[in-house]
Symmetry: C2
Subunit: 368 residues, 2 copies
Amino acid sequence: MFEFTLKKNDGLARRGNIKTAHGVIETPVFMPVGTLATVKAMTPEALHATGAQIILGNTYHLMLRPTAEIVEDMGGLHKFMNWDKPILTDSGGFQIMSLSNLRKITEDGVEFRSHISGAKHMLTPEKSVEIQHMLNSTITMVFDECPQYPIERYKCRESMELSMRWAQRSRDAFVHRQGYGQFGIVQGGVYEDLRKQSSEELQSIGFEGYAIGGLAVGEGQETMFRVLDFTIPTITQDKPRYLMGVGKPTDIIGAVARGVDMFDCVLPTRSGRNGQAYTWEGVVNIRNAKYKTDRSKLSERCKCPACSNYTKAYLHHLVKCNEILGAMLLTWHNTHFYQDLTKEIRISIERCEFNNFVIRHRNLEQKL
Amino acid sequence: MFEFTLKKNDGLARRGNIKTAHGVIETPVFMPVGTLATVKAMTPEALHATGAQIILGNTYHLMLRPTAEIVEDMGGLHKFMNWDKPILTDSGGFQIMSLSNLRKITEDGVEFRSHISGAKHMLTPEKSVEIQHMLNSTITMVFDECPQYPIERYKCRESMELSMRWAQRSRDAFVHRQGYGQFGIVQGGVYEDLRKQSSEELQSIGFEGYAIGGLAVGEGQETMFRVLDFTIPTITQDKPRYLMGVGKPTDIIGAVARGVDMFDCVLPTRSGRNGQAYTWEGVVNIRNAKYKTDRSKLSERCKCPACSNYTKAYLHHLVKCNEILGAMLLTWHNTHFYQDLTKEIRISIERCEFNNFVIRHRNLEQKL
């Protein structure tokens, strides 16, 4: 149960906020991914400094290491990792599909083997929701099945319908607390009628927010936007909408333009560790030999420590030498950039200038 | 040319300072190692916060990556890596012996192959000093030959005598500047007369400071202390004395008790990356399963961020998962501890209580 306030509409783009037990989230918002109770290569202090308002934790990873029992015993995920703002946890479904071995899906749930120890585990809607409760997650996600892409229509419907039954069981298992919420996940692949059916079934159960799942799995931006175009209108105006696992800067801008409020993606942190920087000017692959003696900043417009204190030549050197500081600085930069990006999006919606913003930032992914 | 002031003696232990072009160094001092223009896993801001006064850079590593030419072109090592306090650079001799391939030692210098690219390089006393000048090193080291340990007496003498000829050539090549200095390196293995001969020859050349090289190479603490016992008295009182590559906390305390002023070692940073923490209470191997649910701080006495904000259970989790934040926090802690340790040493000498300090801290390396 938490309050979502829609403060402004600009076309389909929305400016709102969510009042949670761990503070207010101004939307549209980007959530950095903190898989294993840490946003990789960043201290929570650095994360705060970027303007991050909420982070995402991964149920699958945390249930294996350090285990939900230990996190609960340590006072919950916030306390364990020293992050006092909101945390959203996924349900584990997506990682089971992408990481674990020997999955066996039944009506009851999924049996799988840990990609770490090989040990056998079972995750059901009830178990996933219980684990997220033990983590003290601010926003719990329903347990769903994440089908591969592409998927035939009849298989996609079967999978979606299983996910809808699991959504009901997830809701039944959810412990309601003031300032905490649970989101349903709309499935149905690229099929309009299936998306509509999924959306309606979830809303008849009733959640604090609605996520769009099963996208950003290889379908491409155009298809993703098309699916959003017919899915978003089926979702109520008065709850937050979360596009899972998205994405590149232009993905986010395009999705906001279609009415999405929340995003998460490993891209800024993973790219940072791989020497790729997102900037207002475009994408910098800092490994490129042309930066060897480049005295300029990574981005003139960015105020993060990597841009304030170092040259491209130094960052190039660090990344080429696989120095941890290279991963630290580029992760900081990318996380800072994603927060700047969503802040600018929020401001432009408040000023009813979002359309201009979209036009001005068509080239955010050009290679520099 | 820089000023060394001896402020206090307590037994053989000394409290002094060195006035350099990049600020004052209070001694005894520990220099964190910043091999490749970065103290691994730390930002310069974090390094400042630990109280670090001077860091060490490695000529061998920097000449290969990014090259001395690029560092010079970028305005020197301080500017390149955003560290404005003093930097001491070694001469490259030690790393050539320990890392590179196909070394060929002649009177002129050492020909070797890079451990990175396999490319052939030549390092001579003149070249090493020139590179350190290009790096804008605050304290330049003479180029020396680092013999293996153990080494027969006649080989040790030959090696030492070569190093003394190289010391003269290093001094001849050194560009004198106000606030910059060059240190000679006393060699001679574990042989008292050779150490004495080396020490006298260096002092007849004349340097801004004197290092003791060829220790901490496997001879053990007892032998090292014995060599210091007969070597230190051969070195003038009125210059700083630097024990290279040392060491564990009790190594440092024992060497200060014998009159050493400066230290460097990879131990705090390397151990940090390996999950080992040095504390006032002893050594914590945070990977140990007993810390899995340990709610206590790494060290109750330490004020570093790792100790202030996290439990042992969380640090255990990070290190077990190979999370970069684990390396970051433990490196920060160890670096902070080594700075605290040397600060406490300085205070105890000022108060003429150093002997008490030695007695109280005999167990700094006990396993917790």
